[in-house]
Symmetry: C2
Subunit: 280 residues, 2 copies
């Protein structure tokens, strides 16, 4: 029996936790101080509340870190301070450099580090979601991860490689969505949105629907894309590529972060939020 | 009989010139000091060589400016200095602010200004290409422009509106192509291109072909996209949107400008040119 500690059961984490539960693996989480909504999500996913992060670290052979990218380093520091000596898998959307930094932190605490990156929606049905892993220990972790609907794929190249796959993938999906929303916001601010939409009907027939989709599916999640875009920008800068695309995308998602807890806004509302300043 | 001066017959300009020639309109250009290739293009398009820009301005009722965006202001200054008093149409990929600046320059010289923006390839067959126009005089110019395969569309909103349509449109097409090439360059620099391409096969099945296409169709034209991306960045900044997407795109096309005169490079060559610096 393997014991896996899942930190933390957010929208993605809870489903990853459910996916790795099996006859051979139980999954713990740390419920102390967490909201009722998180408790419900974790319990629905069949995760066992061990109480504190310290209790999770004490009882677990493997810790899976699945959290918003801006929280990934602090979580690693917390676990390292507990002298966790099992396998620490960082599955977050962070740059290769941040992944290696996290690796250094948890290894200093005594753990074995495995770099990871998740591509796809929270895994409910098989085939939707891949968990990329790299580094020593990746093969063993890959086996654990594939108990349920998740597919694990080992990336050659050591720690940082799995994160690089995730960064490259998201740099298109979330970067291009932000760009498309910026395009519409610009046309709207300049008063030419109707002309643009008519031109798109002729020569880019999928773009209007795609802009609607980018607004609808990202508005409530935008708050946690900010850190991810900043990690991608850092990834680009590290290889000498311009970081402006994703610093721009971070700013777009920052302006959409107001929609975190409310109802899903219309595209027109989002475009107004993106351009508070209008041309003279 | 209307006389139209076409400045200058590049790849786009020569075909625009051919498209506006008709029983009621002749088209002049200024061959002085131009290359043999430009002379051949203009002559193939049925344009009449009037010699100098001064001679074109003297003889023309309408001047169409179709040139790389970085040259648009200087061309307007040259024509204004000649006291051209006809209709000056700027059809270039410039920001609304630059379009209005050009309008001010040529109006000071005595001309009537019409803002324009061309969307589509050089117009050879009907339906491929639209010439957006705005400002007073746009209706009259629209009639002239539709003699051949070009379609003219009047945009409400005065000078700058046609340019805004063009900027918004190109900010997606050329901006997203640059982003996609940057994505591939990053993955390649990090050594995970194979993993990315395999993931794309599963979840983004058109992207690999699209990256190949973005490289192939833009490599030799990249030199003239630099100024266009900078004009788009300025357009975004003017309405308070992040300019980083298109400053990034300008940098991508700047690194591809080396392919202007040579053969079309492979995608792998382009990706190497985009990331001269590799991670440590």
């Amino acid at each position: 029996m393997t014991t896996i500690g899942l930190l933390n059961p957010g929208e993605m984490g809870s489903m990853v936790g459910a996916a790795v539960r099996s006859g051979e693996a139980r999954v713990l989480w740390a419920g102390e101080g967490r909201s009722a909504a998180t408790h419900k999500r974790a319990s629905d996913a069949g995760l066992e509340d061990a109480g504190s992060v310290a209790a999770v670290a004490r009882a677990s052979d493997v810790i899976l870190s699945v959290c918003p990218p801006h929280a990934a380093v602090d979580l690693a520091k917390e676990v390292a301070a507990l002298r966790f000596a099992g396998i620490y898998v960082d599955g977050n959307a962070v740059s290769p450099a941040t992944a290696r930094e996290i690796g250094g932190i948890v290894e200093k605490g005594g753990a074995t580090f495995v770099d990871g990156g998740i591509i796809g929606p929270p895994p409910v049905k098989p085939g939707s979601t891949r968990f990329y892993v790299s580094g020593s220990g990746a093969e063993r972790v890959a086996q654990l991860l594939t108990a349920g609907p998740l597919q694990a794929i080992v990336v050659p190249g050591g720690a940082g490689a799995a994160s690089a796959v995730k960064m490259a993938y998201a740099s298109w999906t979330k970067g291009s969505s932000a760009l498309l929303l910026a395009v519409c916001a610009m046309a709207s601010a300049e008063g030419v949105e109707d002309s643009l939409v008519r031109e798109w009907k002729i020569s880019q027939p999928d773009l209007s629907a795609r802009a609607e989709g980018a607004s609808k599916s990202n508005a409530k999640k935008a708050w946690r894309f900010i850190g991810e875009m900043e990690e991608i920008a850092a990834t680009y800068a590290a290889v000498g590529l311009p970081d402006g695309f994703h610093l721009g995308a971070a700013e777009i998602y920052r302006r959409m972060a107001i929609y975190k807890d409310g109802p899903t806004p219309s595209l027109a509302e989002v475009l107004r939020a993106l351009t508070p300043r209008r041309p003279a």
